[in-house]
């Protein structure tokens, strides 16, 4: 069961996103990093801001979280979050203040 997103409308149709989200992210990463083109549409940060779980505040911390639920099922390992934050910006800031 995939967790519900926080926002209303995804940047593309769900059926399209299911098949092509990795292509959009791959394209966006080169645009952002190498050419300095930072747009909200297709940005990983925007994905996470909307899809982070209401309970764990993350997209992959628990098996049922948005990214993890499908990736577990198809046994495809995601390594995005070894480097990228898996939580929205506000949440990360709160956690860094605590300890």
């Amino acid at each position: 069961m995939i967790e519900k997103a926080r926002g209303g409308q995804c940047v593309e149709e769900p059926a399209f996103m299911r098949r092509n989200h990795m292509k959009l992210l791959m394209h966006q990463r080169d645009d952002t990093l190498r050419r300095g083109i930072r747009t909200d549409k297709y940005s990983l940060k925007a994905c996470i801001a909307c899809h982070a779980s209401q309970t764990s505040q993350s997209v992959n911390a628990e098996p049922g979280n948005f990214c993890q639920s499908c990736h577990n099922y198809v046994a495809v390992k995601i390594d995005c979050f070894q480097c990228h934050a898996n939580q929205p910006a506000g949440i990360v800031a709160q956690q860094q203040v605590k300890p």
Binding site: R34, I37, T39, A89
Partner: protein, 255 residues
């Protein structure tokens, strides 16, 4: 790099040779035409003006006045650590993007203080030696590591004459959303590229100004009207290791 051509790209529209084709297609009806799955012409047209990106007309640089830099002050280092989510040296192997140096003239005993970080060379040795193309220079002169393709060989760390790069030895958690960092990759000062792209100044520049020193000026070296260009033109600034002809983006006054 393998690109999937089904993904949205604005390039075909931008080239002059395809403008005729673009107009023809546009006349048929802008809104409904599907270029690639999910990408319509009007979306590209809307995206283009808002998207600036790094331009080679700009060369970002810094001018650091060592006369104003106070010995013992580490506000720039702290600001960098906070902005980029660095530990500040909890473990001996932790990354360091900027460090403070005190240099002493052994004849006179005069001590000068200055911050040292990636000098954002126009001819960066770290880019020359990178076997995968992960180490690269953006069009606006900022030298970065593409951690997606960095294999962690650390050639760049050895090649840098300024010892500016660090290697991430340990797994990291709670990275900043704007500053992805991960184990097994090289990293260094990014000139706070995420802030610069938003039109802000790097964190160290702000911190230095807030501390009342104002020793670091950030700006566009290619714009003759910018403050940094005027200062560089009117005062004799130096590059560290000038003899290497790297044409650094970071320059120093008073050393």
């Amino acid at each position: 790099m393998k690109h999937d051509h089904n993904t949205p790209q604005s390039d075909p529209v931008a080239t002059p040779s395809s403008r005729r084709g673009f107009l023809g297609v546009a006349a048929v009806g802008m809104a409904g035409i599907l270029l690639a799955p999910g990408v319509r012409l009007f979306e590209i047209a809307q995206a283009a003006p808002a998207v600036g990106g790094a331009s080679s007309k700009v060369r970002w640089g810094m001018l650091i006045d060592s006369g104003k830099c106070a010995s013992g002050c580490t506000d720039c280092v702290k600001a960098c650590n906070t902005e980029n989510g660095l530990s500040g040296g909890t473990l001996p192997t932790d990354s360091q993007w900027i460090r403070k140096l005190d240099i002493k003239d052994t004849h006179t005993g005069a001590i000068q203080s200055l911050p040292m970080m990636c000098q954002h060379c126009a001819e960066p040795p770290c880019v020359d030696v990178c076997p995968t193309g992960a180490s690269f220079k953006r069009a606006d002169g900022i030298v970065l590591v593409d951690k997606h393709i960095c294999i962690g060989c650390r050639y760049c760390i050895m090649a840098c004459p300024y010892k500016a790069r660090s290697f991430v030895h340990e797994p990291l958690t709670h990275q900043k959303p704007d500053v992805p960092r991960g184990m097994g990759t090289a990293e260094a000062c990014t000139l706070c590229v995420h802030r610069v792209d938003r039109g802000e100044q790097p964190a160290c520049v702000n911190a230095c100004a807030d501390a009342g020193h104002g020793a670091i000026i950030f700006g566009n070296l290619n714009d003759p009207e910018s403050e940094i260009s005027k200062r560089v033109a009117s005062y004799p600034s130096r590059q560290i290791r000038e003899n290497l002809n790297l044409n650094t983006g970071v320059r120093y006054l008073g050393i």
